[in-house]
Point group: C2
Chain length 518, copies 2
């Protein structure tokens, strides 16, 4: 029996659907039109439109972090991919499998250097692996390899498919899923070696958790290990996904500024990395080391892409510590109803007001750091953070999480400066009726840059430095902006107003934005 | 006498100021803080903040197209550059000299692959030349070479300067401007050869104008040449900058769709390119050639980066044709006050309502094509178009033009889909009190994609194709969006309303947005 022939675009979408792709975050152009038509002909992949590509790529990252399924994007040529690279950078740092589809000019048109021609391959290679479809018969195979590669490497695959190979007849791919690899199991001898390190440590060791060591089971195991060995626990500074709240131990993040992180680690002769990278300074500052742990202190239990969760459970079994769960964390004192909003007050109010099983996408320091501190005592929830530092990640990530988990409430706790990068995400939240409560911490400045200017010895800012770190003159009106994108919104300035607005926003269906004046 | 030492960042800004850089469109981060401080210490370069980097790079393009001065951007690491690449792609296709400054991690911190580390060099190389500052003593020299290179190649230079080389003492650069090259003069024998082609042409020849052949003097010369030789004149489809209106001949653009362009050129045995690229199809379509002119028909007068204007004046001298100016173009019939708005009606009303010496940034086909047709009879003005097809160029380009020419009225005639890519540009227009009238043609769809879907044989769109080409559900409220960014706005649906709103918007100081419901 001969294999059926179908358009290349159909073969591509069919292969993706067979391999677990359920959603494609898209902003297509002319060279992707056959793929757009295929999304209607081939069942199984839901298309979600973003108004700019960094919305699509950030949403794909958030979707995959929550669903565990591969996420797909559809982007138009080199400029479309370029627009989405910043959030692909973040996804790369989060070790999120993302598969980008980029149409290209028809293969026979490429040599003529038409206006939209550019080096797509070079752009894609900066964030992951590149899979160019060489002819119409290879569409299915290349797609399968790209999806398998994204999973195997826990990273970004980009499929570049010329328009003619989308249109012409390809071979219908077999209805088998791609071979999806899971996280590598840690060999027993490595776990025993770590156990020995923890038992023999000359000083209080540290265990730094990241990757799937931030699941509920893994955090509980880490807490038992810490109880039996005297180890201190830290969570990596910017986790891709961390469970948090109700019943979990209160594991602080490793501090962001290197002086504080060095101080936190300096007495540890062993720093066990469990699903986390070896800790390095976020930026280099004169006189402060790039490597945060003491020389020779790092002991590897699991790399970020390995199965740190199972390794911690096995390590706990070897060490045979307590079997009790972490004690519940006491509620921090709540700010007065009449108090004005500060980063700290917002963190406390949001943590206290979080519904059960929420997903919280956190971007920005103003209320993000205080929230993380306060959230140990919150209801059980999942936190997503900005893993790569490319700002504009929080709103798209919340969007993708909401598409992945329509029954869970999503909160986007967002600083204003980074929120403005991809405010277009609000529109897709409205269109897709996502249950996202967007909380904008509106201090109308790039506050982190003022801190950094001061660190560089410029405490007295001139007018240009002041202007370049200010979002005032005019202030952004986030309520108007949200309404412009079809999202209802309100503005609050006091603790009582925030409490009420937060409750209301969580209760309603669909998105709502709250501008928090601080 | 020894040279004075100053911080590397100061040496960089000083070299730029000496070389004619007057404005820097910026969105800096931690690794650019010494440069931000230097912008206050070193006089001469005005910093303009954009809320997202594609606003900065598009504004730099618009600024340089209008001012003729080199434009500069300041971008944060790889992700900041990535966010600005789409409009750098357009600037590259416009042959606009742009110099990007990108800070990098301190050179000694780079090996540790901190979260924000990425391959900046590879990203920058996709749009132009890359100039990495290797040590603190080279800052001035590298900056000078990058600026000279941007001018010589009429393209994009990116300076990557590690944070430590910005901070430490460099040698104070000499107070001499960089060696700015101008457009290459066309050799006399080439001009004579073109003259012979035009005289001897077996059929009516075509002259295709681009680059500086779209100045007033060059268009007049082309008109005289056409009068004496029987040549037909076309303007390239997407000119970087074209003078238009009052007293100029009505030179149509070469049609966008290749069937029509092929038809326009098919009888010409000679197609003289004067500052334009050899015409190729924008996209490849099965059965339609990529190359639009007949084989062997192209005759080169001037490449896009060469001095086509002087070449046309010399060619006119050789051919010795008429000395009269082009006849004035008659006003097209104006639509009725009570008529609803269509793309055609908008084009006619805006052309008729244009003030003297306006700059019009046009992006999008809905009202853009009709406007270009109608604008032959408008007051004298300058048109800027999207040269590279990366959408989101119109508003940033208008912003940059307004900064370059504060005394000229600027009109941004903008389709809604592309406008949403970089709507953040509105805020900078408000902050800098730019005299920009933003006209949004709001059809709430990616209409061009529906045309392309139909061209691909999909006339019956499925629900996903419909959703992916629709900006409705919910409709964007551009009045609210503009207000959110601090820009006053109004909405019109009839011809009379548009006429009145346009007059009002042009009369007031600062930006105003008009949403045109079509």
């Amino acid at each position: 029996m001969e294999a059926a022939v179908i358009p290349g675009a159909d073969a591509l979408v069919l292969t993706a659907a067979h391999s677990g792709v359920r959603v494609c975050f898209a902003n297509p152009g002319t060279t992707e039109m056959p793929l757009v038509a295929a999304l209607d002909r081939v069942p199984g992949v839901r298309a979600v439109l973003g108004l700019q590509e960094n919305v699509c790529t950030g949403a794909a990252d958030g979707f995959a972090r929550i669903s565990g399924h591969p996420a797909m994007t559809l982007l138009h040529l080199g400029p479309g991919l370029a627009n989405g690279l910043a959030n692909l950078h973040n996804a790369r740092r989060a070790h999120t499998p993302v598969v980008n589809l980029v149409g290209d000019h028809a293969s026979w048109h490429l040599p003529y250097d038409a206006p939209l021609t550019s080096d797509i391959d070079a752009l894609a290679a900066t964030v992951g692996t590149v899979h160019v479809v060489p002819d119409r018969t290879s569409v299915g195979d290349v797609t399968r390899r790209a999806i398998e590669g994204a999973h195997r490497l826990q990273g970004i695959s980009t499929i570049i498919v010329p328009a003619d190979h989308q249109q012409r007849n390809a071979v219908e791919p077999p209805a088998e899923p791609a071979n999806i690899t899971t996280r590598a199991h840690i060999p027993e001898d490595r776990i025993h070696k770590v156990a020995k390190h923890l038992r023999d440590s000359r000083s209080r060791p540290v265990i730094l958790l990241g990757g799937n060591a931030l699941s509920r089971a893994a955090q509980q195991a880490a807490w038992r290990i810490a109880s039996s060995t005297g180890a201190r626990l830290f969570c990596e500074t910017f986790p891709a996904r961390a469970e948090r709240g109700a019943g979990l131990p209160n594991i602080d993040r490793l501090p962001y500024f290197p002086e504080q992180a060095v101080a936190a680690l300096k007495d540890a002769s062993a720093v066990v990395v469990a699903g986390a990278e070896e800790p390095v300074a976020y930026f280099g500052y004169e006189g402060i080391p790039s490597v945060l742990a003491s020389p020779g202190a790092i002991v590897e239990l699991a790399r970020p892409t390995e199965d740190a969760e199972t390794a911690l459970l096995e390590l706990d079994g070897i060490l045979g510590g307590t079997t009790s769960s972490a004690a519940s964390t006491s509620q921090p004192e709540q700010p007065d109803d009449s108090a004005v909003l500060t980063g700290a007050a917002i963190g406390e109010v949001v943590a206290a007001g979080l519904p059960d099983d929420a997903i919280v996408s956190v971007e920005g320091g103003t209320s993000g750091y205080p929230f993380y501190t306060a959230s140990a005592s919150a209801a059980a929830h999942t936190v997503l953070t900005n893993t790569g530092g490319a700002i504009g990640q929080g709103l798209p990530c919340a969007l993708g999480a909401a598409i992945a988990a329509p029954d869970r409430p999503v909160v986007a706790l967002q600083s204003d400066g980074s929120g403005l990068y991809t405010a277009q995400a609000l529109w897709t939240m409205a269109r897709e009726r996502c249950n996202v409560t967007v909380l904008i911490a509106a201090n109308h400045s790039y506050n982190v840059l003022r801190t950094e200017l001061a660190r560089h010895g410029n405490s007295d800012f001139g007018p240009q430095a002041t202007a370049l770190t200010s979002l005032a003159d005019p202030n952004i009106d986030w309520v108007a902006l949200a309404n412009g994108f079809g999202v209802g919104a309100s503005r609050v300035a006091r603790v009582a107003e925030l409490r009420k607005a937060l409750d209301n926003a969580i209760a309603i269906d669909g998105p709502h934005l709250i501008e928090m004046t601080i």
